[in-house]
């Protein structure tokens, strides 16, 4: 006797055809978030529209006589970007993420895309993979359409874990992209892979010629930020009796 087929349960996909998205990038493993988002902002000629003031501002930078904070908001058409130039430590990551969600709600953001890196000890530079995680089912389609493998198992720690948890509990769907990278050194190759993946998702062509020319310099110029980021990432780990992994 045949068992009667149950009605398929398909959740309605209600993401708009041309959604308003927010891309979030901050210093983390391999500096993927910062390097890729900085270039996307540059390539798409996004406009600086504001800052996140609640962020920890022990540092500002001056450009053309204007004082600017380290966490800034950019916009172009229906794409917003929040870029941090300083690592977000454990004490501030919750406030920071809540500010991002608050901003997203006020600006009718349909989905948040958080870009970061994941450590792969022997990564193949010519074949780096970007894995995706979604907080809401309706974004699963984006992974499928863009041939992004799903992050199936593993551990995410540090600020990324807190951000992910808060995003998961928020009403705004989020897509988290983790690209295989060198955790300890700036990894422009992995950042480039992230840009390629993201450009497909947001359906914008991003010319990487200028980025490719700067790869070696990006590694040189970002040494200090990488060092600062590792200090923040390591400070959040449980005290360990293991020998220090970083020599200064």
């Amino acid at each position: 006797m045949f068992k009667k087929m149950e009605k398929s349960r398909v959740k309605k996909l209600d993401l708009p055809k041309n959604p308003t998205v927010l891309i979030l990038g901050l210093p983390g493993p391999g500096l993927i978030g910062t390097m890729s988002l900085t270039y996307i902002i540059h390539a798409l000629k996004m406009d600086l529209i504001g800052e996140i003031e609640s962020s920890p501002t022990s540092i500002v930078f001056i450009d053309n006589g204007q004082i600017m904070g380290p966490v800034r908001i950019y916009k172009k058409d229906k794409i917003f970007a929040i870029l941090s130039d300083i690592p977000i430590d454990f004490d501030n990551v919750t406030d920071f993420t809540e500010s991002v969600i608050d901003f997203s709600k006020k600006n009718n953001i349909d989905s948040i895309m958080f870009i970061s890196g994941i450590h792969v000890p022997e990564r193949n530079v010519s074949n780096l993979k970007t894995y995706g995680l979604v907080t809401h089912e309706k974004l699963e389609k984006l992974l499928y359409e863009n041939e992004i493998p799903k992050f199936l198992s593993g551990v995410i720690s540090g600020p990324d874990a807190t951000i992910l948890t808060i995003l998961k509990n928020s009403s705004i769907p989020a897509l988290v992209l983790h690209t295989e990278c060198n955790y300890f050194f700036p990894d422009p190759d992995a950042a480039m892979q992230t840009i390629k993946t993201l450009s497909h998702i947001i359906k914008r062509e991003i010319d990487l010629t200028e980025f490719k020319k700067q790869i070696e310099y990006l590694r040189l110029q970002n040494r200090q930020l990488m060092e600062e980021t590792l200090n923040v990432l390591q400070a959040q780990k449980e005290p360990s009796s293991a020998p220090p992994q970083i020599y200064k």
Binding site: T38, D63, F211, E216, R219, E227, P243, P244, Q245
Partner: protein
């Protein structure tokens, strides 16, 4: 509003603003300090040194009883501006204190994708401790 007419200058300006007074580069000897990562494995220590803008032939690794020094010449000089002073760097240099129990004669090195990987085998000798 920030005008990003050129990605490279934007990055440079940004990094110099936040971290311009580099905490670790040697401005007197005009030597950049590379990022390094030391990891302990079962039978060896692994030291990775990030050396962008460097050719394999221009890397020098020297070990003594307690220290290991990596010096590498850049293929192009790298300039860092601090205020009105422009410093031109031509070398990377880093000296680390070796972990104890290293067989210094067996240290080997490999350079791939701009990263120097130095493997430092443990000597494997020690005092056997009886178990009661």
């Amino acid at each position: 509003m920030i005008i990003m007419s050129d990605f490279a200058s934007f990055i440079e300006k940004q990094m110099n603003s936040f971290f311009g007074d580099s905490l670790f580069d040697d401005f007197i000897h005009k030597e950049l300090v590379p990022l390094v990562h030391l990891k302990e494995k079962d039978s060896a220590w692994s030291l990775e040194v990030d050396l962008p803008l460097v050719d394999k032939k221009n890397i020098e690794v020297k070990s003594s009883a307690n220290n290991l020094t990596v010096k590498a010449k850049l293929t192009k000089s790298f300039c860092v501006s601090r205020g009105n002073v422009l410093t031109e760097f031509e070398y990377f240099k880093k000296t680390i204190t070796l972990p104890s129990g290293i067989n210094t004669k067996e240290i080997s090195a490999k350079f791939k994708d701009g990263i120097l990987k130095i493997t430092m085998p443990k000597s494997g000798t020690g005092t056997k401790i009886p178990i009661e």
